[in-house]
């Protein structure tokens, strides 16, 4: 055990850790911070949809019946229409367009697409703008919410072309979603999409971090000819087992640290509120998960898959490191490995377990494809590592 600890001390080199911390910080700022900073203050109607989803969870919990939703929408709509009517009376821009009530505005909105006069155009976008606290977006979101909540289960049924692309097992799964009322929960597609995009970026960063940390161990040992010394010791050629264990343990620890840090940062935007909401929520338009799972279970499943991939990639890095004579040749091998790992991450984690959105699933149409793919990566990596470990017994020292 102490030997593994000593090998880990070599891996957790402070210079590499500093570079790793900087690389992760830059990666976060460039690709991930957007999903935290602009989750609730970004585009419209994303902001409004998330606001209502949170309101509904506070009032009814993560499960909600269509009747409860209709009651909430009716009450909220009445309140917003009253607010809008006040704006119509006080702001001259509406009078100039001949809008004096919400009914007038609705008529104008129905005509959207046909030519607006300048006054009508100004009035229209004023209600959707900051001057009216984005009332237009709030009202429109309410209407969509009610529609989308029930549209979800019949969306496929109505659209023959989409229904036609589902195979028997998928159709059975869709029927199960409807029968079990899995869609009667609160999780907006903006929340699901935001978490999904963050997770994909995080997975790519994790692969990069694991490769940076664990790869140099064997090259630096061989560069100092330490392996000659190691081979002359009692432990001899079994040292590679300890190095492998140290590599795997380091990858596991680094994954844990990064999950805690970047999971913690992401939790500041409050998406954990939907932890128990079913992923097939009626508000998560167009998403049909192959498994009955909550948002929390989906996040947990992704984290488990990230651990598996991180361990697989660390084993492959270990093998490449064993066959590299210098750090630069190692980097020349790591760059293609990272490119492949990053591509795999986008394929596995982009709407994982989704019937229509996941690239890997759409290729093979097998439930749980993402798990099988990660399993195959680990098996291949394990086979490569076993080959290297067994070869080490016979290889010429000099």
């Amino acid at each position: 055990m102490s030997m593994i600890w000593l090998e880990m001390k070599k891996i957790w080199n402070w210079k590499i850790l500093c570079a790793l911390a900087l690389a992760c910080a830059l990666f976060y700022v460039m690709f991930m911070s957007y999903f935290v900073s602009y989750y609730k203050s970004g585009n419209h109607p994303q902001v409004e949809m998330i606001y209502y989803a949170e309101e509904l969870v506070h009032l009814y919990g993560t499960s909600i019946t269509p009747e409860e939703l209709s009651a909430y929408v009716a009450a909220e709509r009445e309140r917003l229409v009253a607010q809008a009517d006040t704006q119509f009376k006080t702001m001259p821009v509406f009078a100039e367009a001949g809008i004096y009530s919400y009914a007038d505005f609705s008529r104008l909105r129905e005509a959207r697409g046909s030519a607006f006069t300048q006054a009508e155009n100004d009035a229209y976008w004023t209600l959707y703008g900051e001057a009216c606290n984005y009332l237009g977006f709030f009202l429109e979101t309410l209407e969509h919410m009610e529609e989308e909540f029930d549209i979800k289960p019949i969306y496929i049924g109505w659209n023959d072309s989409v229904w036609g692309v589902l195979n028997e097992r998928e159709q059975a799964r869709y029927t199960e979603i409807v029968q079990n009322n899995e869609h009667h929960t609160v999780l907006s597609y903006w929340t699901h999409g935001n978490t999904n995009d963050y997770a994909v970026c995080f997975a790519v960063m994790l692969m990069l971090a694991v490769l940076i940390l664990v790869s140099p161990l064997q090259v630096s040992d061989r560069h100092g000819n330490i392996h000659h010394l190691q081979y002359s010791s009692k432990l001899g050629r079994k040292i590679i087992h300890r190095q492998l264990a140290a590599t795997l343990l380091s990858a596991f620890m680094l994954t844990t640290v990064l999950v805690l840090i970047f999971g913690g940062i992401y939790s500041t935007n409050g998406t954990y509120l939907f932890w128990d909401a079913n992923i097939n929520s009626g508000l998560n338009l167009g998403h049909y998960s192959v498994f009955h799972m909550t948002y929390g279970q989906w996040v947990t499943a992704m984290i488990v898959l990230m651990y598996i991939l991180a361990l697989g990639v660390s084993m492959l890095a270990f093998v490449l490191s064993r066959f590299s004579r210098s750090m630069i040749t190692l980097i020349m091998k790591l760059i293609p490995l990272f490119a492949a790992a990053a591509y795999l991450c986008t394929a596995v984690f982009n709407y994982s377990f989704s019937m229509l959105d996941n690239t890997l699933y759409n290729l093979v149409r097998v439930f749980g494809t993402e798990v099988y793919v990660c399993g195959v990566v680990v098996i291949l990596a394990l086979a490569a590592v076993l080959y290297v470990v067994r070869r080490e017994k016979r290889v010429d020292v000099m």
Binding site: A19, A23, L26, F27, S326, T329
Partner: protein, 378 residues
């Protein structure tokens, strides 16, 4: 010269370098081979240009009628018959106004932005007088085709060449440490000056890698993408446009007159100089750091840092200056030789950026090499 030759030999004896080059080429083939929906039409336009020529007008219309009738010919005729010169009466001042308003620019930044687009007006007037917009390029497939080459393929290629140049430089600089000859080599007078030879050898090898990778990838690209007789078309063809988030869709205006061929050559020249910039950044890092692995990480961090720096100081002068860094020049590669958009204050930003970077890096290289000569090697 002998030392230079030996240093170059050391670099070229690394088999992994060739494997990496082959992998890069393999990756580039994945970019080049897939065909998208607009390819059939682009191929037809290229083929038609052999008969019609690339300059639009009455002669073009007549020659077009000689082609075999069909849907694609009708489509091309619809797009080209009576085409108007987009530069006739085109005023660039609205672009400056849109940027100034949307980005809240004031003071000297607003003045510089107005100045840049006032200067661009002269280029527009020149293009209007020579009917540059009335050239075929790839008709309505132009923007996709142009961005496919300049925005995707060449951007990946330049990134690969930059990384290769940096790796080659670090490989050469770290060679004495990795083969444990540092103490012997650096103990001699020639050894202390060897960095100069290593640098020249690495830059030469980097340029060789640039030539091989660019040559092979572009050969594959042009073997799969017929350009017919469109090489003489202006890149500022009326069919080529920039989708600008702040100023809307607008013509692709270059400062000088460029045909498809001369624009590609000009891009390759800047790309080669940018590769030298990345190589010299690696030289500065490699001279100070013994560990090439950490050195490469620092190289990546510095370039990523330049990108983040612009966001951190958005709207301020440091952010505009950082746009001249090699990392940002690479990002802005599809807009080389144009006005560059909202985050560029200067005319010909790519030439200015490359020259400024080379001058700055040359100074840093000289300083690093001088410090290396005095450094304790133990």
């Amino acid at each position: 010269m002998e030392v230079f030759r030996l240093e170059l030999k050391k670099i070229l004896r690394s088999p992994m370098l060739f494997v990496f080059l082959a992998l890069c080429f393999g990756f580039n083939l994945l970019l080049v081979i897939p065909r998208t929906y607009y390819f059939d039409y682009a191929d037809y336009v290229a083929d038609a240009s052999r008969t019609t020529g690339y300059r639009l007008g009455a002669e073009f219309d007549e020659n077009l009628l000689d082609l075999e009738p069909g849907e694609l010919r009708d489509w091309l005729r619809e797009e080209t018959y009576g085409a108007a010169d987009v530069f006739d009466g085109y005023d660039t001042a609205y672009i400056a106004d849109a940027y100034i308003e949307r980005l809240n620019l004031s003071g000297y930044k607003a003045e510089m932005m107005r100045g840049k687009y006032a200067a661009l007006q002269a280029a527009v007037n020149d293009k209007a007088s020579t009917d540059e917009s009335l050239t075929l390029y790839f008709a309505s497939a132009t923007s996709d085709k142009h961005f496919g080459l300049h925005g995707i393929t060449l951007r990946f290629l330049i990134a690969q060449c930059g990384i290769l140049a940096a790796l080659i430089m670090l490989l050469s600089l770290g060679y004495e440490h990795s083969s444990r000859t540092a103490h012997t080599v650096y103990a001699t007078k020639t050894g202390r000056h060897i960095q100069r030879h290593k640098m020249l050898a690495s830059l030469s090898a980097g340029m060789m890698a640039f030539a091989v990778l660019m040559g092979l990838t572009l050969a594959a690209y042009f073997a799969l993408n017929d350009y017919g007789n469109t090489w003489g078309s202006s890149v500022s063809s009326g069919f080529n446009y920039i989708n600008d988030m702040l100023a809307g869709v607008r013509p692709f205006v270059t400062w000088q007159r460029y045909t498809v061929l001369t624009y590609l050559l000009a891009v390759l020249v800047i790309a080669a100089l940018l590769t030298v910039c990345f190589g010299t950044i690696a030289f500065v890092i490699g001279t100070w750091m013994k560990n090439s692995y950490i050195g490469f990480l620092v190289f990546l961090i510095i370039n990523a840092g330049c990108l983040v720096f612009a966001f951190a100081f958005a709207g301020r002068l440091p952010a505009y200056l950082s746009m001249l860094s090699p990392a940002w020049l690479w990002i802005k590669q599809p807009y080389w030789f144009t006005d560059g958009g909202a985050d560029i204050l200067w005319k010909n930003f790519e030439v200015l950026g490359v020259c400024a970077s080379l001058v700055l890096l040359a100074g840093l290289c000289l300083f690093s090499a001088k410090m290396f000569r005095k450094r304790d090697i133990v």
